[in-house]
Symmetry: C3
Subunit: 355 residues, 3 copies
């Protein structure tokens, strides 16, 4: 979809952002360039993880893939927590899940549906992803309701820690399900996308892949610092609420790599891989990144919990039910993709005004 040299050039965005920051350019400019620099970095981390995964065998590889697939979101989340931007962290969790489910998923269904009048995919994969994501919604509804109720017995930190433990356990179980007990039932989905652009001839050794992964992670950490540093100024200049920045802008940028890969597979009509990317990524953020950030918050002494705003929780619930309505039957068509995109548009408009 994009020429390799464009991706290589895109690495230059990070030093550019650093220079802009250094020479006191306006925060909004630094923020934009740092945001953009995350796209090739997230992609490189994804590629390197998959490259490593191919080297170390399918089972361990899938595990690695599943664990590090959203490393960019995690690194950015930690940087934001260190600077106390809890709203941004929560917003980018909500937004990543919404973007993956509705924007990536809907875009993939529309793309595939334009060529094929009916798209089929593994029903078991759909139903296990959807139920797992529904658990994540429940895990956010409970502390949010308790916070709204202003209950004297309620200890936000303790409740969120306990719920986070349940989520991580469930994530582990879903890995066990996909990699062990029901691997063959999910076959089409587990054929992880071979990185779309580099042809197999370019395969690198384990050492090189590991080096790329670490370099990209370090660069992501740097870009995240720049981005978070420039956040306050940007929010003030553009008069955008911090939550909107997290929910829409950061989330779309952070998931751009997933988005382009999913669309490529959807064009070929391979909906199992295309939707698998969207759903696995949502699951990982909801059941692994979010609870890990709760525990990181404890270590950093930042009161990060799973109590979101009412609008965020309703939006997540709506998006999981929307996906359930169209995907549980294992079939899809372009109108259902357009439906997901329309739901995303309406929720996005809401996030703009909710501030």
């Amino acid at each position: 979809m994009v020429y390799p040299w464009v991706w290589r050039l895109a690495w230059l965005l990070l030093p550019a952002a650093w220079l802009l920051d250094r020479f006191d350019f306006p925060d909004a400019v630094v923020f934009s360039v740092a945001c953009a620099s995350l796209v090739p970095l997230a992609r490189t981390m994804g590629d390197a993880t998959e490259g490593l995964a191919e080297r170390i065998g399918p089972a361990a590889g899938s595990l690695l893939n599943a664990t590090f697939g959203n490393a960019a979101e995690l690194i950015l989340g930690i940087a934001a927590l260190r600077h106390g931007h809890i709203e941004l962290v929560k917003g980018s969790i909500t937004g990543s899940i919404l973007a993956n489910l509705l924007l990536v998923g809907g875009g993939a269904i529309v793309t595939g549906g334009i060529r094929f009048s009916q798209l089929r995919f593994n029903r078991l994969a759909a139903s296990s992803s959807i139920s797992t994501l529904f658990l994540a919604v429940v895990a956010m509804v409970v502390p949010t309701l308790l916070k709204l109720g202003r209950n004297p017995r309620y200890e936000p930190a303790l409740l969120s820690e306990e719920i986070s433990a349940v989520l991580i356990a469930m994530y582990g179980l879903s890995l066990w399900f996909g990699l062990r007990t029901h691997r063959e039932h999910l076959a089409a989905v587990d054929d992880e996308p071979p990185a779309a652009d580099p042809p197999p001839a370019q395969r690198r050794s384990i050492g090189v892949e590991l080096g790329r992964l670490l370099a990209a992670a370090a660069a992501t950490a740097g870009a995240s610092e720049l981005l978070v540093d420039a956040l306050n100024g940007t929010v003030a200049t553009l008069r955008l609420p911090e939550m909107f920045v997290g929910v829409v802008i950061v989330a779309i940028v952070g998931n751009a790599a997933e988005h382009s890969t999913a669309l490529i597979f959807a064009l070929r009509g391979d909906m199992d891989v295309a939707l698998g990317i969207a759903w696995e990524s949502s699951k990982q953020i909801a059941l692994l990144v979010a609870p890990v950030l709760v525990f990181v918050g404890i270590l950093l002494g930042v009161p990060m919990d799973l109590a979101f705003t009412r609008f965020e929780v309703v939006a997540l619930g709506i998006s999981v039910i929307a996906v359930a309505l169209i995907a549980l039957d294992g079939e899809s068509n372009w109108l259902e993709g357009a439906f997901l995109l329309a739901v995303y548009a309406v929720l996005g408009l809401g996030f703009f005004f909710v501030g």
Copy 2:
């Protein structure tokens, strides 16, 4: 089901209402007669639209049908907006959707289910109607939540206009889906109900049909004026809240024609047509009539938006999920129809007390 001369006599209800109003009869009497006069008028508009549709070929005809099918609701809505009865307009939108989904849908399933132990219908039609209606619920949840949150950034009119544009676009896409790309997949539903009573021999020329349509529309506008004029007095006399009048009384009257046609098809076991009427009508009101009324409100300078009361939004969400629970599998039985009717009864009781 009813003799033709009864329908012709029923046209006299409109002049009767006008005379009653003229000679200062109590508002509640005028209101009741004007309400009743809407039943034959809505039916005539539906018949004439279908008659025209048959003349001008299937594609343009379906489009006409789909666009003018709920003209009575639209005309009544405009009359109510002109008099500033925003509560009534919103209530009748909510109520029409509820009545179509639960009362017409449930009634049709019970009627068909008494004769046939299992009723089958097109799953694709069910799932695309349900997901489209779910979008409409989302479109009402977002402004309602924002209004409850009393957010300073929130601009109700702007948000509702933008969401209305999304809804109308989605309605256009669903027409394109049904009339173009997936016409054959929805075959059974697209065989629009040939007007049930008049035998084919009575077909009229295009001019006559157009005349009937315009005459009925004009008469509906007149009846709507009488009805809305008498509303304040009626509400005061009967001690009924304005929303209840809109949600239950006006909605049942306005959809009486759909109701009787759907039951006739259900009796024959033709659930595709029976449920198609209920779902298409709900979709049209939610995705076309409601957003058009938002834009009419702007023209009239009336602050009509998509922010409903909490109870209305919850009721709509419940009704769409209830239909999804029973219809997504493409099968039905009388208990599922009774379930929809029971949900309608419980919600109706709620609307009585919510005032």
Copy 3:
């Protein structure tokens, strides 16, 4: 699963509780022993009901079974209402439904799913149970929303009575559906579990069974009195909120018998019976026990209505949707059972803090 003599010994728990109360042991001790004594009593009532059911023929038997299956909950509820513990009654209704749907249902699916990679069950039974339970959720949402809205028109008692009548009517219809019109379509579920432990040779005469039933009912009433008497002291000592006691402790104890029977059938892979127990029991509590307790409240002059707390209603809605997500397709696997258990755990944590 448990030796018969253990069950017989367990009957001694009731006199033990009585003695402990008599000799002024702390309330928490009396409460615990009275709670424990309910387990064998509920089991005996269930056994005797089924024994009677076998004697009097399948149709009347199923009816008896369906009507008296949750007699323990009803008796306990009446005792609690007589002492004015409305919170406890509502909590134990919520908790029984949650425990049956999520804990018993999820436990059965995990148990069966460990041995069989895919579990199948009657889809019609699943879908009719789920839609009926959804009606019960609607029946609780409506008064709860009205109570939160503090509406002047709202008459809690009247609304709850009317809704209760709808629920009982719907329960009657669902019996008619299962026992008459669609008996053969639900075949696997209607083969009610032959009491798991006592072999057929031990069948007793009608008189003996009736005696056992009445004796167990009387003993349950006694145990309920002790339990409710000791409630205030227990709540104060353990610093547990009354609702948590109802939702979690009383509900688990009251449904222990169902739980063990369902697990036995799940171990054999007979998911129709295992899940049937969980769902029928939930339906009975929601559509029969709860509305009957509303009418009992009127007789006793206690303001028992169907307005629950916001958290209870959300928890019930979540649990019904969770079951719908995994069960409507008529197939299951261990991950889906783990999902239900995880939802139960998260909701249970919430109830602990909501106090």
